[in-house]
């Protein structure tokens, strides 16, 4: 075993100032909530209490919606070109304060600083830049003059990419002329609240962006509010279904970005070393807390043993630990609840008969951690091969022919993403055409860009985020 000892290089927390307690951001300022119920928000890597956030109640949701309605009046009168400039301004402010956001994101969510700093924040700024430019070009986007904003949009986002998901939601909604009430996940609200400060700084008209904290009960109040015109949700398929059900019979727009169980297909003629890197990035990026994670490795039978050996060797080099250490590859699991879920599914995989490999590494004493895990000898019927684990756990299946690979890949109710690795161009195109997935990464994985639409087939949801197609999620055809 190679010795991978290294010196710590811990990012300073001094740049971040966390308040003892946060209020909701409504009508352009932080307001005393009506709800008296606060919860602690903790660092999942130390279990230290960082701050308190409020669980907003019905009155708070009402206030936020009312503010967004008044904001919509103003925002509708703001010229598209001016709206564009507001978004450009936000994009620049994000870049200027990006280190502060990155450190806070890693403290509050547990993701490695190298990801929050080099992936999340640059992507957040890029999203605002990209959609800023669309704001005054909506007419050009689909050649239809009848496309109009919905009005007040309720947005509910998950804890895996807190600020990035905020940018995926707020930037296109504002660019298309909507106003928003956004509810971040209760374990990762802090960067959204810091973003609220940027809105003040950028002089975004009051009521255009409203941010309220809370849990599922707050989310449900938002979904069921009579004055909300559209809901955009990113999260689990289970919650997505219940939102779709709640909106039945109501004239409310809906887009859903839900779970996934992506197949990452490795043909025998792939560039193996590159594919190993891609597979590692596909599943261990962000602790596997990624809806499009390449969690089902599909190996052509002839390369199974060689590939697994290389993969295990590569996995062993992954550094698990302090998210603020710049050397860390895998940070903390976002919450105790999520850790329990991962452990439960992994135990099931073992008792089903899967062969488990976990890297040898020391895990910190406090916080929530899970070792990078690989399953082989897995049957497609095992729950580890069917259910979204949302953790650093990779499941291996094998195939003999391209047709069989497609069958296995598509044999899931999900359809968010997929990967394909081969050096043969025609095989890539043949495979990509047949995969039922909204995003197909060929000889790469987990690449994102504001210009590139993202979203699922089947039970992975509907609507797209990003790109020209992403605009349609916030526009409706008006006759």
């Amino acid at each position: 075993m190679v010795n991978w000892e290294y010196s710590e290089s811990v990012e300073s927390q001094d740049i971040v100032k966390i308040k003892d307690k946060y209020q909701n951001f409504i009508d352009g300022n932080f307001q005393q909530p009506n709800s008296k119920k606060y919860i602690n928000t903790i660092s999942p890597s130390t279990e230290e209490v960082l701050s308190k956030i409020v669980i907003s109640n019905e009155k708070d949701v009402n206030n936020a919606i009312k503010s967004a309605q008044m904001g919509f009046e103003k925002w509708s009168k703001t010229s598209p070109h001016e709206r564009s400039k507001y978004l450009f301004k936000l994009a620049r402010l994000i870049q200027e304060r990006s280190r502060e956001f990155a450190v806070l994101e890693s403290m509050d969510g547990g993701k490695p600083i190298k990801e929050s700093r080099d992936f999340d924040l640059p992507q957040v700024a890029a999203n605002f830049f990209y959609f800023a430019g669309w704001a005054d070009k909506i007419d050009l986007s689909w050649g239809a003059k009848s496309l109009k904003p919905h009005g007040v949009v309720g947005q509910i986002i998950p804890w895996n990419f807190p600020l990035l998901m905020l940018s995926w939601k707020i930037a296109p909604a504002l660019a298309t002329g909507n106003t928003v009430v956004l509810k971040p996940a209760e374990t990762t609200s802090l960067t959204a609240l810091l973003f609220a400060e940027l809105c003040e700084q950028a002089g975004i008209p009051d009521g255009v962006v409203n941010i309220i904290t809370g849990d599922g009960t707050t989310g449900s109040l938002l979904v069921n509010h009579k004055d909300v015109n559209k809901i955009a949700f990113t999260g689990s398929t289970q919650v997505g279904k219940s939102i779709q059900k709640s909106l039945a019979g109501r004239d409310v727009g809906l887009t859903l970005e839900l779970g996934g169980k992506a197949a990452n297909i490795i043909y025998e003629d792939a560039a193996i070393d590159q594919a190993v890197e891609g597979v590692v990035n596909g599943i261990f990026f962000n602790q596997g807390h990624v809806c499009c994670a390449g969690s089902r490795l599909l190996l052509q039978e002839s390369i199974h043993d060689e590939f697994v050996a290389k993969l295990e060797k590569r996995m062993q080099t992954l550094r698990v630990g302090n998210p603020l250490d710049k050397n860390t590859d895998i940070g903390a699991i976002n919450s105790k609840e999520q850790l329990d879920k991962i452990e439960g599914l992994v135990n099931e995989g073992v008792s089903d008969g899967g062969k488990i490999f976990q890297t040898e590494c020391e895990l910190p004493g406090n916080g929530f951690w899970f070792k990078p895990t690989l399953f082989t000898d897995v049957q497609p019927s095992y729950s580890i091969a069917r259910e979204e684990i949302f953790g650093p756990v990779l499941t291996t299946l094998t195939f003999r022919t391209p047709q069989e690979a497609i069958e296995i890949a598509n044999n899931t109710e999900y359809g968010l993403s997929a990967g394909v690795w081969t050096e043969k161009g025609s095989k890539i195109l043949w495979t990509a055409d047949r995969l039922q997935a909204g995003v197909v990464w060929a000889n790469t994985f987990n690449k994102f860009d504001p210009a590139s639409p993202f979203g699922g087939y089947k039970e992975s949801g509907f609507g797209r985020e990003g790109g020209r197609q992403g605009l349609l999620s916030y526009l409706k055809a008006e006759s």
Partner: protein, 275 residues
Amino acid sequence: MIEIKKTYKNYVGGKYIRSESGKTFTLNLKNDSFEVPLTSKKDIRDAVTSSKAGFAKWSEISPYTKTQILYRLSEMIEGHKDSYIDLLVLGGSTKNQAKKDVETAIENIVWYAGLADKWEQVSGNLNPVNGEYFNISHQNPIGVVFSLNSDSNSLTSLLNSIIQPLTVGCSVISFSEESSIIALKFAEDINNSDFPPGSLNILSGQFEKIFEDVSKHVEINLVSICKIIPNEILKKIQENASSSVKRIINMPSEDGISSILPFLETKTVWHPKGT
């Protein structure tokens, strides 16, 4: 001489069939009446099986060939224009209204025939991503579509409830109630236009008897409702649909590119560039 009256049947998998239940219902038109199949739950399931097979075939057919098959459909209707006009008149239209309706239907088919090999150039595009990647978004047909036709005595209305998903490669189960006769008649021209069996199935019946099954069926990917229905039924349909994240479109747009977008799934493919 005694009049010989045509028996109208459902059209499923390229065949004219009665309801497996043996049931019919009486359709009282303004100037005539007919017995038409009362589609059962089992008939719906059979139609879905057929539509799945039809989807596999129809979606594989090249856009160029789709254009020709759709154009062929307009030719077939043109050839049988008079019989459509006669049926529409039985349903209460004046001869002039009927003639105009059939002509509009034909014009619409020709428009969509010409779209079948172009829509991907309008709805898809390269994406200028930041990095050395080839990144393209294009669309796939969503799959099996169930479409509820309006009660209008009109070939154009029927056409506008099915042509958009068909154009992009979906298979369609078209369901009519009061306007069944024109739909079942239309099946004959579908049959003569080289559509693969199952790509378009045509059923008659009462929607209230089958909507629960339609909205719960996991192999129907999208339900398109082109008729104003009571809100409590719409609500029930949408609730049932949520159990499989099924797409429900209420009164779809008939306008240009917006008319096909609901029937598409956008797929984005990335590939690195390099030497």
